[in-house]
Amino acid sequence: MKINEQNTIQSWHIHLLGDHAILFLLDEIIDATINAEVHAFNQFILEKKIIAIKDCIPSYHSLTIVYDIIELHKIVKTNLHDFAQNLLLEFNAYKKENTSFKLNSQLHKIPVCYDLHFGIDLEKIAKEKNTSIEKIIEIHTSKIYQVFCLGFMPGFAYMGIVDSTIQVARHSKPRPLVEAGSVGIAGAQTGIYPKDAPGGWQIIGRTPLSIFDPIKLALFAPGDQVSFYAISMKEFNDIKNNSNNVH
């Protein structure tokens, strides 16, 4: 199923995901524009406040909506595929009419201590990339990253795109423990571990901020923008000790 219309750069595919979800798919690549389209569609659906839709899960190139079967049948009289296709048509029409359509997106500036005590893979990456640790930090902090999606564990944000000059593969064997706040890179992606967990990303630093909290939930939302800035070990400890963490 493709919806190709003028003014729409993307063509969506629709998959009915079992009997209680619908998957909307774009091209299978990590790309900021494609991902922005996902967040725009997500926002459009959320704003419609359809009671039957229990969850909307964006990923790099897809949006999954989870629905309540009983509630959905109150509003869908034709078949489900038509319902899904109509959502896309309405979305495209809406975008045409509202040229000022803007994503609700927050910019987060995240302090990161790139001290080797935290950035346990920095030396190895510098060697592999034939560059200096300072240069890696400079490159990592020079970009604004997009939160493509959250997953893996509560609050874990997949962000990108990491500059190709410092892209490295994840560890072939995951570490049994990566500490909370650890900032990692893996391929085109960067991310922060919200809590202690096993993980295979290459660790380059650590943030003193709380990324996930059971009450306030996740610091980042899908579609948000994130930049990193370097701090010293002293600043790291100061922020860490100050219980009024920015969240």
Binding site: H15, L16, L17, G18, D19, H20, A21, L23, L25, E28, I29, I30, N42, K54, D55, C56, I57, P58, S59, Y60, H61, S62, L63, T64, V66, I69, I70, H73, N79, L80, C149, L150, G151, F152, M153, P154, G155, F156, Y158, L217, A218, A221, P222
Partner: protein, 270 residues
Amino acid sequence: MSIKIIKKGIADSLQNAGHYGHQHLGIQVGGYMDFLSAQLANKIVGNSLNQTVYEIHFPASHFEFEETIFISITGANFIPVLNEKSIPMHEKILVNKGDVLQFLQPIQGRIAYLAFSTTVNSNQVPTTLIEEVEQLIFNTSPIRFIPGPAWNELDPASIQQLLTAHFHTTLQSNRMGFQLEGPSLHTIAQKSYLSAGVTRGTMQLLPNGQIIILMADHQTVGGYPNLGQIILVDLPRLAQILHQTPIQFRLSNVSSAHEQYQFIQAQFTS
């Protein structure tokens, strides 16, 4: 209302219908593994269908009641006894302060549900509904699924095997997912997928050719090939299947799955 656990079971927990609305933040839904038995337990004691219940595995906890309440037990039969005297399942039972509930032996199924309430007046649950639920959670016909986005990536021999061979759950099965053992399945081409949303019942193909079926506490997104999803009314049956019990799969479709879900839910709400 208070219930004391005087001896902790191996994997008992309090569960409700799950927390939707946060999966975009990577927060799992959770909730009942077998929603049919949980809803039935609630209906029997006069609760609303989605109340919190104890989800009980064997060896089960020993419960002591600290006040007079009503309870009901559904799902797996672990031979429930109250003060060492046998009590029936699927019935509203009055328990008094100091009464002790224990489960002696697993006879059928994997998960029992214990609902509790102080409601005196509740309508008799029709025997037909109890039988309907038992039929849905314990019948031995193939588990039904709807093909997923990667279904067509499977090679024809693997499709044939998935639809005919016997699989069984392994010990690597828990509330997050059931890892199956069966013939090794293969895709036509080695293709890597970007992570996308998954649901409960999603059948993922692992790199070793085996299937994992996502259950109540599953992650929100996944990057393994998505072969299909088990239909909702068959998930409780899968949840109740014991290790080493052979499982077969059969194709279903959305409209038939919806009809069956609506049919059983209509009986619960009537």
